[in-house]
Chain length 456, copies 2
């Protein structure tokens, strides 16, 4: 295999991200998430391990489906409280040189004109290391924070997001021509006004008549990530995403999702490999199998099943506290995250899916089953995902922080490198150039953003 695997540390500006309860472990420091040094340390570790970047999740709202209120999420720290993810990026960028950043921001609530500037600002400051994970949100509690009584319908949110993306593409690609910024001290011309154009957009959901407030950043459009794996979500990914994060329970399950997204990308006029696919992987590694399993047994004592159920109930829009443990879970149309629902109902066809079975899976406080073993065993699992699932890379959630990332960097990365599966050093250039081995920081010509590009 010639392809290098791409690896992101997967994190969130909160105490409990994926593996709930791990903050209670005596060595865990994630309750220091609200300090600068916590994030600086994470970034330094990731760059020491030559990781591609840090992928930052976010959520607006709270998990209040379980038992009908947010009490469980608050008590267990399950993504509540949660701070803004954009504001930790400058700290992590300042202490690193190559590390990339994929940051989650919600199109439903952020005004496009202001978000365009925020992401351009970060792309400037990081010298082209910024990616944006496009989400449309799925929580009614977020809508209530924003003055609405409920979320717009799932598919409608993606329709609105399609238009949102066009507005942003135009601000990033069209408003400032290449060469517009002259910084000519003698002539007294900072930028040439004839090369700066207002974007006039009159759409169904957005109206705009303005120039982009930021001059062109190294990448212009940041690297685009997307994580929805519902049918509509995949369509959106196939059109917009350069990196898509899928939630699959096995390499075999991943393969069909990956093939579908690649096929949809081709149908949208893009190359099949122009979308890189990522899967989540929780890793518990030890120098020996015994050390790994001892660590796993130690960690699992801190798993918070209640927190995990609170999180998962909101993911699927079903209050799991109200079901009999052995009652088969059936599909119910909700406004929530359809990808999770589709996954659960697909699986229900094979065997009865029950709360008891879900809880049994939650060994580290989430439905993401950890991979436990020696570095060689972990690498073997990663290789299977790549070969069978056609996956390009992984997002690694923390278990016990920061030791789970340190372990990965110290133990797994060298083995990946020995086996030719992972880079020994960073390539030069922007995040996009590093990820796609291109020599331009700008988005691929076949991407819909590129149609707004103006000749220099």
């Amino acid at each position: 295999m010639s392809r290098h695997i791409h690896i992101y540390a997967f994190d969130m500006n909160c105490v409990g991200h994926i593996n709930h309860g791990m903050w209670r472990h005596p060595r865990d420091t994630s309750s220091r998430y609200n300090t600068m040094e916590y994030w600086a340390d994470l970034a330094r570790t990731a760059e020491r391990g030559k990781l591609d970047g840090i992928f930052l999740a976010d959520i607006i709202g709270v998990y209040d489906v379980y038992k009908g209120d947010p009490s469980t999420a608050i008590a267990s720290g399950a993504q509540t409280p949660v701070n803004d993810p954009l504001l930790i990026v400058p700290i992590m960028a300042y202490v690193t040189k190559h590390l990339g950043f994929g940051v989650t921001v919600n199109t439903t609530y952020e005004p496009p004109y202001l978000l365009a500037r925020r992401l351009s600002t970060l792309d400037h400051l990081t010298n082209g290391r910024i990616g944006w994970n496009i989400v449309t949100g799925y929580l009614d509690s977020a809508a209530c924070g924003m003055g609405l009584s409920a979320q717009p319908d799932h598919d409608a949110r993606y329709d609105v997001a399609d238009e949102y993306m066009d507005v942003l593409y135009r601000l990033w690609e069209e408003s400032w021509e290449d060469g517009a910024v002259r910084v000519d001290r003698m002539a007294g011309v900072y930028a040439d006004p004839s090369k700066v154009r207002p974007i006039r957009h009159e759409g169904q959901h957005y109206r705009l008549d303005a120039i982009h407030l930021s001059e062109p950043s190294p990448q212009r459009t940041p690297v685009l990530y997307q994580a929805g794996s519902s049918t509509r979500g995949r369509q959106f990914a196939a059109r917009h995403a350069e990196c898509a994060f899928i939630g699959a329970s096995s390499p075999e399950a991943a393969a069909s999702i990956v093939a579908d997204i690649r096929a949809k990308a081709v149908a949208a006029g893009r190359a099949a490999r122009s979308v890189k696919l990522f899967s989540g992987l929780s890793v518990v590694v030890g120098r020996t199998e015994k050390e790994a399993y001892d660590k796993f047994e130690d960690y699992r004592r801190y798993a918070d099943i209640e927190g995990a159920l609170a999180h998962y109930s909101s993911s699927i829009g079903i209050d799991l506290s109200r079901l009999d443990p052995d009652e088969p879970i059936t599909y119910r149309k909700t406004n929530a995250n359809n990808s999770a629902l589709e996954a659960i109902t697909t699986r229900s066809a094979d065997s009865a899916w029950t709360v008891r079975r879900i809880i049994d899976q939650m060994v580290l406080g989430s439905r993401q089953k950890p991979v436990v073993g020696t570095p060689e065993q972990i690498v073997e699992v990663m290789r299977r995902w790549v070969e069978i699932g056609d996956i390009d890379g992984f997002n690694l959630p923390r278990t016990v922080a920061p030791e789970s990332l340190r372990d990965f960097v110290d133990l797994v990365v060298p083995v990946l490198q020995e086996q030719g599966l992972f880079k020994h050093d960073y390539a030069r250039g922007s995040l996009r150039e590093k990820l796609f081995e291109t020599d331009s920081p700008h988005i691929d010509a076949a991407h819909p953003a590129a149609r707004f590009r103006r000749p220099a």
Copy 2:
């Protein structure tokens, strides 16, 4: 005089902030505003000089009143392009320990639920060093970027902002009780849900039913700054501001504005001295008078009058390019920044106010007349502002960056310290504790935010 003067470096995430054209000076580095090191260096210099903080302006929109389009502003780099101010704060905070930050964010365009979290996040990361400069915006071009055809009326914007503030106060002060966050690893309780309350607000302009997403930050409500000096703006300042920035042309003119704001604060139930008043001061300092004036003559060769006129035309909502240079400027009701208009028309009563006179004032590319002299002479001017104008401190715009701040720190600060007008070292605690010499990071009990506070 026993009061210490408070001093902020006044800056903006752009090339040309106040003194337009200075970026063209051979030693000026402000065209590097889009790099992290530029801001880190600024912050280190400010903290070396024991400055209270960095005050960051911002604008949404472009200056397109002058000649009817933004060409002049774009060419001269007059606050165009302009990047997001919040995202440079974490960098500056990371390289400093005591420096405070006053950051401008617009209430008209930022959703309150998300802004509350952004400011809380910054207050967490900086360990309580965050202030917010509340602005309501005044540019029609900003409205066009946000999908509106024109700004709401000036006074109406403040009415909406009053309600906005109440929503934020409730999120910051009321949602999470003191002691709600337990971080109890043994009990497995991150926070006590019984001490976290959703804020239910049904107002004329905003609706909300949600808990604050962030746990309480050191200051909860950030230090509140405000800069409007129109009549309605002063009312707003008297109610909400802990620090107000006034635009006065002399200590005598300042005195009446300051007295008015203090009286209005008292009328609102607050102590007269609970609002600190700041004035802008552009300083050109040399070791000798000759060195100072040589420097000033050198700088002024780079003043960009066109850029300054573009900026000022938008400030007052009058296209100064269309007036005869000697034609008296008369008041015209516009939607723009009424404080500037009130200032100009007040002055017009004394003597005819003309474009020619305005240009004559713009010696360094702005209407803010610089103070030029030795450190002792600068300190004497500052003392006059404090004694006659009853001013508490100054915002220092850059002229040639970074040397104007370095000069101030190296030459003026020691003289201020010698004369007992400026601190020799930082006090301990949050920005609020440092500014008000209190021993609580939380907002004063007489402030309207405090009425939402819950007993511990």
